[in-house]
Every structure is written in C-alpha cells, then in structure tokens.
Amino acid sequence: MQSILKSLLIVFSSLFLVAAAQPKPEPAPEKLTAEIGEPAPAFTLESQNGKTHTLSDYEGKIVILEWFNDSCPYCMKAWGFGVIPKLLEDLEDTKTEVVYIAINSTANRSEKDILKSGTKFLAEFDADIPMLMDYDGEVGHLYDAKTTPHLFVIDTEGVLVYQGALSDDKRFKKGKDAETHVLRAVNQIISGEKVVPSYVKPWGCAVKYSNGTKDNGINRGRNPGPLL
C-alpha cells in the first residue's frame, strides 16, 4: 500500500512539474468593448429632460454619439465655430434618419452643475439633441471614449462603423467648412460603401471621468478652491 501511494505521489509530482514547465501562453491583447465592425454596446441613460434613452430605441437609424463636455475648449470651438451646428444641418440634408446624441461623462464638478451647464450650452445653440448624463462614466468606459469630442457612428444594423476625431481640422482654421469624418462616414453608409477610415485618432480634452467615489472628491475637506 505504501509503495502504491509512493508511486502515485511520484506520478502526480511529475505531472505537476510538466505542467509548470509548459510555456505560459502570451496574454491576448486587451479587447476593447466597443469595436469597429461589431455591434455597438447597448446602453440606457437619462437625458437633460429626464427622458430615458436606450440605444435599441434607434434601431434601423444611423446613430451618432458625441462625447461632450461644455467646459472643454475643443467642444466649445467645435460648437462655437459652427462645425457641429453645420454638421447637424448637413445630416438633416441627407434625408436619412440620423440620430445625434451628446453623451456627457464629465465628473469633475457636481452632477447637478454639469447637467445645468451642459443644458444651457446646448440651448444657446438651439440644439435640439439629447444630452445623456453618464456621470459614473460607465458608458464612456464601455465605448472607451478618450476625448471630448470623441465621435462614434453606428450604422442602421447597430454596428459601430466609425470612431475617432470629429475632423482633421483640430485648430478650426476652416471653421464650419471643415469636412467632418462623421458626415463622411454617414454618406458612406448611405451609399453602401465601406466606412474608411473607420478610425482616426481623436483629439481634444481628456474625458473627465469619475474617480470612482460617490462625490468624486468634490467639496471634500476645506475649501477646494475654484475651478479655473
């Protein structure tokens, strides 16, 4: 009996050593949650008017998501120089059902303040678009939104076909006449072409995501000082 146990111990030890000696597989590259050519991740968020918006509400339509922060100078310029207002007009001219949504994942101020200033900002441009509040950044992280602005275009099948920069004119030299990648992607979808390029490195302010705490460090301790 003792010799059987001894043999078993040797066999198991050998198996363990063989397993340990096997080369470890190389870790696979980290998979992005929102990927070009894959169905766009589903989400449900509330707009500035308290209305609930779910991505599936827009099935069969082209959906554009703009990561937005009204205090980011790039968003201010994109709107203020007329690039996005002109884009909204051009999208209407395509005579196709296109839904334009601003998503606000900003969390460097109180949620109430962000909702208020974002709403005011869009109202100043008479922009009749939903601004979805993503204060905890869950949807932003799901899409891996890096900058404001960062644009995503979803085709009528619900597939993500473009993500990245608004245009190549990051200094707004062409003003509202800048050609946007968004309009180009939408026109490519409409004409049945492949959306190329499907990715252009986005530029802009970093998305000011939540730091994971309930109050995001706002008003903690003594007077934190004003935000410049």
Partner: protein
Amino acid sequence: MSLALISFLLIFLTNPPPPTQIHSGQAAVEVRTDIGWVGPGQAFNLLVLLTPEEGWRVYWKDSGASGAPIEIEVNTPEGFKVGKPIFPRPSLFKSKEGTTYGYDKQCAIFIPVMSPKIIQTDEVVFEVNTHWLACKKICVIGEQEQVVKIKTNKTTQGPLHRDMRLKRWKNLLPKELSELSKATQLVSNNKIEITGTTSETTISFIGVEQRGVRFLGTNQLRLEKDQFVLTIPIELDYAAASAGSFTIEGLLLLGGNEYDPCYVVQVVAKPDTTKK
C-alpha cells in the same frame, strides 16, 4: 474707525472679489535661435521654449490617450526652408484612462532652418505661431505668435550662441536609432520589432498615430543579458493610406526619466511586408 472704513470692510468681507480667470493658455512661450547671425547656406535652429504653469501639462507631437499636440507654424523669409519640429523626449503621464505624453516643465522644441545661398537683406524675420492644449483638472487652448529677427551677413556664416542651456536642450532631443548599439527595426505581421543592446531594463515605445496606423498598446519586452527585443503590436488599415504605404514613426525610450536617451524609430510598412 470711520463709517466709510467700516462700510468698506463690510462690503469686502461679505463680497470677496471673484477669482481671477487666466486664459493665457497656462503656458509661456519664448522663441529664439541658436546662432548669432545667419549667413548664406547656413543650417541653424529656431527654438520654441514652452513652459507650462505649475501643475499644468502640454503635449508631445502625439498626445497619447487624450489631449492634443503642440503645433508650430513658421512663416519664413523668402528662400529660407524649415524642417519638421523636433520634440524633446516627453514624460509619460499614466492614469487609469490611459497614458498621455507631454511636458510639465519647460520643453525646447527645435525647428531646423536652412538659409538660401544668396541673402540680400540685412535682417530676416520669422513669424512663429505656437498652438497648444494645456491640461490640469480642466484644459485650455493656448496660442501665441512671436516674431524673431536675425541679423544677416552676406558672406560669412554666423557662430552658435555660447549658451550652456543650448547643449542641455540638445541633449534632450531624440537620437538616431543607428546610434544605439546593434539596433534593428522591422515591421512584420502587424507588429514592429525593435532590437538593440543596452544596460537599461526600462524600455518602452511611444508611437505617432496617423490615419490608418494604430498602436494597440500591449508592447512586449524580452530581455536577455544586455540584449532586448521590443514587440509593438500595430493595426494597419491600408485602405486609409494615401500613398499605399505607411512611414510609421515613434520613439524608443530607454530608462524612465526625461534625461534618459531616446531614439527615433521610423519604418516603412507596405502591404506585402505585413501579411500574416
């Protein structure tokens, strides 16, 4: 105490003045040259010194996960030619949202200039426009236009300025990869492989993204004694390439601080060399 003083104190204490809002782009710019005067056929540099305010950062020519790069435009006098700006080694700012590349201290960006063989004026004027994004808790855009006047000599080339800082700034610029012992660079199977010899164990790469070129950010480093192999996975979309091929650019960083050496990586990727 007079009634006026009491009133003033009451008003002041109950209504403190609003905080001053600074919209200068949170950085200072200075433009200079590295020569005393310019002569015919002379190569020299314009230097853009960008100094972010404390706590603020500005970005390298590829800002990384977010941000926007420093951009410089130069209006040159007739016959003068300018090259691409050369950025010093940036710092890597890591956060859970990704890594950005930039500077939180003064950076000296060199712009190579070549003068024509014949100079007809006594002075030449360069207009340098610098545009940047500075970020702290929030981001602001900065822009400044500066004029640099340089005296000319129609027959003799000008001497380099005797400024110790010039040497220090030059030392922070990237070197050619050929200056690194046993260095090679290769593009294959949607990855770049860089090899070389160094005693450093912290070795990394930062790439300049362009349309159709994407760095996947999961670089792998193999070290064997003083030899290293750095593998950088990339995604190439040849449909987006204007010339059918890409010149992929980046920096190989040895060591972990801004004074450590860095090398320019530049490889051409063509469709047939990257097929799996």
